[in-house]
Subunit: 274 residues, 5 copies
Amino acid sequence: MYGTGTEFRLRRLFDAASETSIIIPMDQAIEGNFTELEDPRALVRDMCDAGANGFLMRRGLARFTAESFAGRAAWVERLTGRSALEHQDDDQLLLASPEQALYNGADAVVFTIFFGKNETANLPAYGRVSDECRRIGLPLIGEPFPIGGPDALPYDGPYEVDDIRVAVRTACEEGADLIKTYYPGSPADMARIVAYSTVPVLIAGGPKAKRPRDVLEMVKGAMDGGASGTVVGRKIWQSEDPGAMIHAVARIVREGLDVDQAMAALGKSAIVVA
Amino acid sequence: MYGTGTEFRLRRLFDAASETSIIIPMDQAIEGNFTELEDPRALVRDMCDAGANGFLMRRGLARFTAESFAGRAAWVERLTGRSALEHQDDDQLLLASPEQALYNGADAVVFTIFFGKNETANLPAYGRVSDECRRIGLPLIGEPFPIGGPDALPYDGPYEVDDIRVAVRTACEEGADLIKTYYPGSPADMARIVAYSTVPVLIAGGPKAKRPRDVLEMVKGAMDGGASGTVVGRKIWQSEDPGAMIHAVARIVREGLDVDQAMAALGKSAIVVA
Amino acid sequence: MYGTGTEFRLRRLFDAASETSIIIPMDQAIEGNFTELEDPRALVRDMCDAGANGFLMRRGLARFTAESFAGRAAWVERLTGRSALEHQDDDQLLLASPEQALYNGADAVVFTIFFGKNETANLPAYGRVSDECRRIGLPLIGEPFPIGGPDALPYDGPYEVDDIRVAVRTACEEGADLIKTYYPGSPADMARIVAYSTVPVLIAGGPKAKRPRDVLEMVKGAMDGGASGTVVGRKIWQSEDPGAMIHAVARIVREGLDVDQAMAALGKSAIVVA
Amino acid sequence: MYGTGTEFRLRRLFDAASETSIIIPMDQAIEGNFTELEDPRALVRDMCDAGANGFLMRRGLARFTAESFAGRAAWVERLTGRSALEHQDDDQLLLASPEQALYNGADAVVFTIFFGKNETANLPAYGRVSDECRRIGLPLIGEPFPIGGPDALPYDGPYEVDDIRVAVRTACEEGADLIKTYYPGSPADMARIVAYSTVPVLIAGGPKAKRPRDVLEMVKGAMDGGASGTVVGRKIWQSEDPGAMIHAVARIVREGLDVDQAMAALGKSAIVVA
Amino acid sequence: MYGTGTEFRLRRLFDAASETSIIIPMDQAIEGNFTELEDPRALVRDMCDAGANGFLMRRGLARFTAESFAGRAAWVERLTGRSALEHQDDDQLLLASPEQALYNGADAVVFTIFFGKNETANLPAYGRVSDECRRIGLPLIGEPFPIGGPDALPYDGPYEVDDIRVAVRTACEEGADLIKTYYPGSPADMARIVAYSTVPVLIAGGPKAKRPRDVLEMVKGAMDGGASGTVVGRKIWQSEDPGAMIHAVARIVREGLDVDQAMAALGKSAIVVA
């Protein structure tokens, strides 16, 4: 894809030297009440200063915070969602179009798809978005969750690694340029997922880790398993010092250091993530 | 159709001298975990070197493996699918558009349609794809399964030959340029299916044969019944020596030899397909 | 409508001197197994030689048999259908578009609509097709069946004449240029239907008559009741001598002769239709 | 451009092993009377059998000769032209669209542009074609002639190498994927042109060489100067044995042999090109 | 325009801290023979490493050099041009569309317009491009030259400052987001131009300065007059050490240093620009 619009934009999401990516998701405000998201303009500026490669936001927040990061970090527009008010966590709706996302200034788009349930509605929508992204040179980040099967699983798993592999690969086969998925818990399982993906894989934050060291160990495990970076948000911007957390994550992601070395970037190792 | 885009592209799928086709499907990764599909670039190159006329792939894998076969073998883009995670085997979804498939570089497209169930959604979609394919000169390969009726049948049959005939013919009547269907078990039944088709018929691999000889006997029976070639994948790329298997299949398909003669191409006759 | 595309094409369906039409439907292959439809190229050529004004076919068979009749008889593309495999006879699906039908070379299109059931889906589709046909100058043949009401009727009736009148007139009101409907059994009832139609009416064959004389008596009754011709297929191409049957039908339709005179064209009067 | 439609199609124009191309132009019939172009179907088949990678034809001849090469060699559709009847050799008209060329089955398109005259009409047309080719994944072959300047030059030069460089580069800058241009007479000048091009360069035949040896020396000089192949037509299909000429050209282009070695492929070295 | 696509992209052209821009134009290859542009991939990488904010290139060179700067510096696609071969320097042609430029990955586009001649053709084209750029969120850089009037001026002036003001303002009034224009020779005249512009003004290199000090003095004068940066190319990439020249220019543009201080960045102050 050298020289295509897809390539020009994909490279904006990555650190050029290490070919890794640290993207900060801030698309959660429709899912609940987050004090940090009330007016995150200073927070976004701090994280941008600390070296985040991009921010994952819906179009409204991107517009609201544009001055804090435009031109310095990439913007990934989330296309899918569902409000917290319907309590229907097994489906995601297509809320925005790739073409307007490109007009809005987005460098890439994210599409969450829950495999195993509602595929009849969601998978064809993903396919149409994929075709349009290709036509207009806009990178597509697939975020697949294998929630289905006879016993539907909760949004946040845990999933079988074999199921994650099929979900990730389906997103690839139908046109993803990057994958965002959960860390499966060990470098070996991460490697199995990366092996079945045909594009680079970034890990999502997941909801459970509490201490910064846990976050960094997750990041280290993912990178050891072949991941290309992180799309970790709450664990960073809900921490005591988001900028320091980004520096610590970057030590591992970009420089390949170990967790102890990365902890040094935090100064205080006992910070607890809310 | 002499001189249309459909003809120009159809001929890329066929061996010119024998007017037969050996297409390798590699579109199964969304249906499960296949070690061979983790990074099939060398495998695709080998099968291309061995003389495969084309590869049936979804757009993601075609992009990933383009360097291994582009310009030497045709690419057939699969438009339909459903992940293995939903365990709903009686429906297929339209995931990609013919026009973007043409822009992507595809030489033809495959549309799987399950007759007898969900026709209200699927048959009109097939019809629209057919009309678009005709307008843009892109060959349409119909893959019909007569799964329906009062007692819905499993994905892989067995089906009544009369039902296969109606399913195949419906796909023809609504615009298929080629048919992909299962071998019905005997040359006589194959001939009945070919007789009711208005376009050439290629056989799919089917899930049951284990030994290379079984595969070759199936191919021989199909050719004796009037088939124009094969869309057999796993039986080839899961075998011990995929290139040799392609050579053996080609002996039957292109040269009309018998199974014993084709087995010679395999060297070791006792190879067991995984 | 003199001088419009609709008129130019409509006239291709009619015998110029008598202003009547004998169209042969061959669109049934998706509804079952018909030996005559396996390779009907010679059959089509014979019926074309015998003076058929046109053939009603789906796009696949028209393409397959084009050399047998193109330029000599009209092609009416059927837009609607459903395979025999779903056993759901009370609904018809829109499978093709008028615009592509025109591009394909069709002179007119047929749309079957079942009134009284599924109108919510089907009647607006008919309306859209009608608007498009008008815009592009393509004649629309409406084929209405009043199957509905509190007690849904079987596909092949019998229907109340008053219900047929409303169904026919609805198809006319929403844009049909010609009507295809069943012969109601008597010239008087036929006349009532013709009286309520605003466009010419052709009769369909219906499934029941066995002897050639029965077929010819039905045709004679329809013509006496004001019909403009026939869209009778199986009763002709499943007969012993399809060319002779067309000659016999033409005696009645074009020349206004009686049944005995028409029977003379058959040579052997005792032929039994399968 | 890995994995794009442009790449899939570009590779069809090239020999995979040597990454060189031998394309036969047969687009000259609108410029005069050529006996060989009266019915070139056997000629095209012979040249295809001899290993031509593709044929440069207008859409009409491609349709007429499709059976002779479709599926075995690429088709490059010429988009521009002007009949011999207007005697206005300094302008070229856009006669066909890239999108329909793709629908027609073309693998690439050629656009001839005369720089230095009529740029106001021609250069923006080239630019629009370039944008459309990019959007639909169809390779664009630019054929630039620096005919202009204060003293307009004849169609066939001779041109200053510096002017050819600017013309070639302008075609590249505005989107060509391949260049077709005249051989400038020496490997050193060829190298200067290739150096200023950002895409591979193929040489056109030019009108002056008479003996096969002259043709082969031109080809050898071009390849030594860094060209990637030939778009030589009349010197091949007007020769006594076109197939042998293609074999001889291939010795140089694909195998890198010298002229004496290539002459051996001709058998009779004294053949005079008409 | 906060939060629009135009803003997101505009900011990629600017240094965030100083809100200034150093863009390197490399769009001149169609205007003559430049050794540096034969294969500028290493040169582009060096200038990117040295801190250039963006590159002004036509689509062909951008594709060719993408790996050297994509993701690290912006790409401004030039939409207008005319080859050096027609010697008609008073007109510019629209060669590319904003929409495809956006799909190609461009962050902005440049449109050169010669006021006072050919406005009937060019000014409405500029207006249409402006409207389209606004709709799709793509910044438009206007490059106005007041060449016209009763006595047409040469391409490179000198122009009356009042004429430059009107030309610049016309480009602004019809939708420019940035202006590229020649330095008028003094900070005072620069200030008059900046005062009449409604958007930031960048200075073009102009053809006359020879010594690095002359270049830096021009840059210093422009910045003192209120310019927001430079679009100086040949004076940088034809210098002995392009990276050092960018560092020197950046001292003035971004840090506000004087010429002597900036010269220190060059090391050798006596370098002569070719």
